[in-house]
Subunit: 525 residues, 2 copies
């Protein structure tokens, strides 16, 4: 497939009529061809109208038909071959191995949802059978299952050009749920988006689905995104990006005549707690692990460890020596976009200029534009508690270590934090009691709590939670990674007193989908 600069409005490849933009190779600041044009308001409406038209048929497809569709998307993405990896490398500055891994994860994610669809638990079928003789009133037959919300607007993320963009987690879970997806490509990787969009379009055609099941729009500013979220045919939104961008979408979604849910994953500094015994016993290993996690992918992960809490003392001093040694050898890595690099530099400068903050060490300086020079700073608990600005995420390989004198301060520090995607405990057996006492507070703050691991690396599985209290996400009741993410796009409907022939397959007495239903309070085995 070759790049055309065209969007996909349903099955049609069309040029946008809005403002022009190009991808930029962040390693060189060179513009990349072809030119892309943003969607006009009319084009946004066309995509939404097609999605709405497709919804009637698409939501009536069987779970296995949708599973086959997701698998077809994975195959089509794999068939793009190295052209996809090469374009993604040019647009994002990410290395080949990372993008190959991300492609594998993207396809595995689609196939995992296919498996989830076939297993059927997501339908959550509940049947309470009629009790015509019950006193004082008979009970009618009542049957519940989950149905899709409607067309979903998906916003591609800058930092996962494959796994959280055009055919990434939000799109996969929306399509799995039975919701058409209208994707707004991230402006930083339009070529990658176009290639993946073409792959999805092929799968739509191959599976004989209505064309409106998938559209791909471009747009350089916020206009296309806000138009999409404001369209009455869009019923939910998936977003990963900045706090400002996420909050603007939440505001727009709430201001509609019919408000809709927004699943925005926005901001997290992912506190790591270094407990005394662990710090004493294996400070060097922890320092190495920390620097590796901090600098992975130039720190451009939502779960990057941006905050460490550690007890003041000799063990911490030794830890910091190793951190500095490690960090000084870290080469500068290309960041995703000039804008992200500018924001990183500004965040780092603000930390460096803060009177209560000291630099521990820096990575190697970069050679060329948009290089991320890794940074670690240190402050103390009082300063951190006194200034909310120190709680702000600096997206990239920058971290702040907060040293405290007394373990009682840790609870105060945790209570002062905003909601987080993750919280990590580095502990040894002697730290168990202290850790145990903090666990309830940690669970209030974070969607995922880790022991003796690093938060970068998010497994796509049943038990994953990539979510957390505000502002980590706009909806702490959800996860955007893992099979439970399908729930974001579902709602329950109860059918009462239906003759069997009018019931959808999932609710029929004969159980043609082979589900384990909850019947009169008992789970079928």
């Amino acid at each position: 497939m070759t790049l055309t600069g065209k969007m996909l409005i349903g099955g049609a490849a069309v040029s946008g009529v809005g403002s022009v933009f190009h991808a930029i190779d962040p390693a060189t600041d060179q513009l990349l061809d072809p030119a892309y044009h943003g969607a006009s308001r009319t084009q946004v409406e066309q995509a939404c109208a097609l999605a709405w038209a497709a919804f009637d048929d698409y939501r009536e497809t069987t779970p296995s038909a949708r599973a086959a569709f997701l698998e077809a998307i994975a195959e089509s993405i794999e068939a793009l071959g190295e052209a996809l990896i090469e374009r993604a490398m040019a647009e994002t500055g990410l290395p080949q191995a990372r993008l190959q891994g991300e492609r594998a994860r993207t396809c595995q994610q689609l196939r995992t949802f296919a498996r989830t669809l076939r297993a059927g638990e997501w339908l959550d079928v509940r049947i309470d059978r009629a009790q015509p003789q019950r006193q004082p009133l008979p009970r009618p037959d009542l049957r519940q299952r989950q149905v899709p919300l409607g067309p979903v607007a998906v916003f591609g993320a800058s930092n996962f050009p494959l796994a959280f963009s055009v055919a990434g987690g939000d799109t996969a879970s929306a399509l799995a749920a039975g919701c058409p997806a209208v994707v707004k490509a991230h402006g930083a990787h339009p070529g990658t988006s176009e290639l993946v969009g073409q792959a999805v379009r092929q799968a739509v055609a191959r599976c004989g689905l209505p064309e409106g099941v998938f559209s791909l729009l471009f747009g350089a500013g916020r206009e296309v995104g806000l138009g999409l979220v404001g369209d009455p045919r869009i019923k939910a939104v998936g977003f990963t990006g900045s706090r400002g961008g996420g909050l603007a979408l939440c505001q727009a979604a709430q201001s509609r005549p019919e408000p809709i849910p927004v699943y925005a994953e926005m901001s997290s500094i992912n506190p790591v707690l270094l407990f005394p015994a662990a710090l004493e016993a294996r400070g060097e290993e922890l320092a190495q692990g920390f620097v590796a996690s901090l600098t992975l992918g130039a720190g451009q992960f939502c779960t990057n460890p941006g905050l460490l809490l550690a007890p003041r003392g000799a063990a911490l001093d030794r830890f910091l020596v190793t951190v500095a040694e490690q960090l000084r050898q870290c080469p500068a890595q290309v960041m995703l976009t000039p804008g992200i690099h500018q924001a990183f530099s500004a965040g780092v400068e603000a930390l460096a200029a803060h009177p209560q903050v000291t630099k521990v060490a820096s990575g190697l300086p970069g050679d060329g534009p948009n290089r991320c020079q890794a940074q670690v700073f240190i402050t103390d608990a009082e300063a951190f508690l006194a200034d909310q600005a120190l709680h702000t995420e600096v997206f990239g390989a920058a971290a702040l270590l907060v040293q405290y004198d007394d373990v009682a301060q840790v609870r105060h520090l945790l209570d002062a934090l905003e909601g987080q995607l993750t919280a990590t405990l580095q502990l040894d057996a002697a730290d168990f009691d202290a850790a145990h006492a903090l666990l309830p507070a940690l669970e209030l703050k974070a969607g995922r709590v880790l022991v003796n691991a690093w938060p970068t690396g998010v497994e796509v599985c049943d038990a994953m939670v990539h979510g957390g209290p505000f502002p980590a996400t706009s909806d702490a009741r959800s996860t955007s990674v893992g099979t439970a993410s399908i729930r974001r796009f579902l709602r329950p409907v109860c059918l009462q007193g239906f003759p069997d022939g009018l019931l959808p397959l999932a609710l029929r007495d004969a159980n043609p989908l082979g589900l384990r239903r909850l019947i009169d309070g008992e789970r079928e085995v």
Copy 2:
């Protein structure tokens, strides 16, 4: 127990220091003693602080301990005896049998949640075991369960002084989830609320729970409610009431530094579709069933059938004759409050004055204040589609029948409706195909779809959905009745790499709670 006019801030019975108000007997417009005083801002904050303080211990109680607490509440309510029914009758104008039935439902609801807690499926335990040898990267051990959101603000409803007030569905599901509840009593039945509040307080003490698990506040205007929703320690809101009130709470919850979910059940006209064959075959029976459902409890149900869609013709004419005959014999019933009666009268007057609307019949006029004279009006499809004002709920025993010429119009009529709690089909075998074609559209509009039944009457069970798209509720992904309502107050947390001893009971290898877990994608049987 005797009425004291006092609120409950945790275990302490205290007088409000805000403005004074009395309950009113709507049958006579007489004020009822004692006087009640609204909570001050400080008192609201005290209740929230106690709830927050209680949350640490309460959320760590076992499911069976919480189940025992809910059962203790039910016992304490039953122990109030007839004094509760008498006070509720005086405050609401509802008849004795209805209130006795509602008390039974309230206690059954508490006991149903106890059963749900013990069954444990609400914890949704998912375990993905470590795969240390996996290539290219090992998989860590990941375990997910649901945890409570935090203290919940519950707003008592005017029309269910027991089942959706102080110890009603919202409170029961919040307490079941592990969330302390701060209840704002509805101003129309403070005495009923005080009695039930005392019963809950007794159960809190009997079960040895922290006092902040439950507080009961009074407040005549919106100030107390908005103060509650704005308090940073409140993490979710349950509300049943007017559209204006619900939207104000949603706005307040979204404007917080940390937005929180609001489950507001607001407005529904509950369309009933009379299909041709059913109307032809059993129009008289349908007319009787309709009038009975319409006038039940003076029509003061969220699921009252306020809209009928029926094909023009001789069968409809006969149906209307019976409706008129039945309605003219319906005695006027006392409405819940003077305000509700005024709003009903204004709504009925607006329909009567509408140039495209004709009155079919009225019930008997009332003798005394606040009597609901039942009303049925008729219009045609064009007029209904042309004027959104005709889609507005008139809370009480008033309905509008929309006659259409062509079955193709029905889809237009449905598409034009806002979201609904229920949609009802009255059909015979010859109507199946027409009904089948409309089912997808009906499921988009309503949380519950009924066949050959009437929407009043909401079963408390696993399969019930009392919810629906906006503005029926503020969150179509939820139900406020039935065991699935517990989900409103839960969020998932994933624990990664935890040693068994640090895991909560629900996630331990030995499975001490006896749950059927999802392990490596397979459900335990």
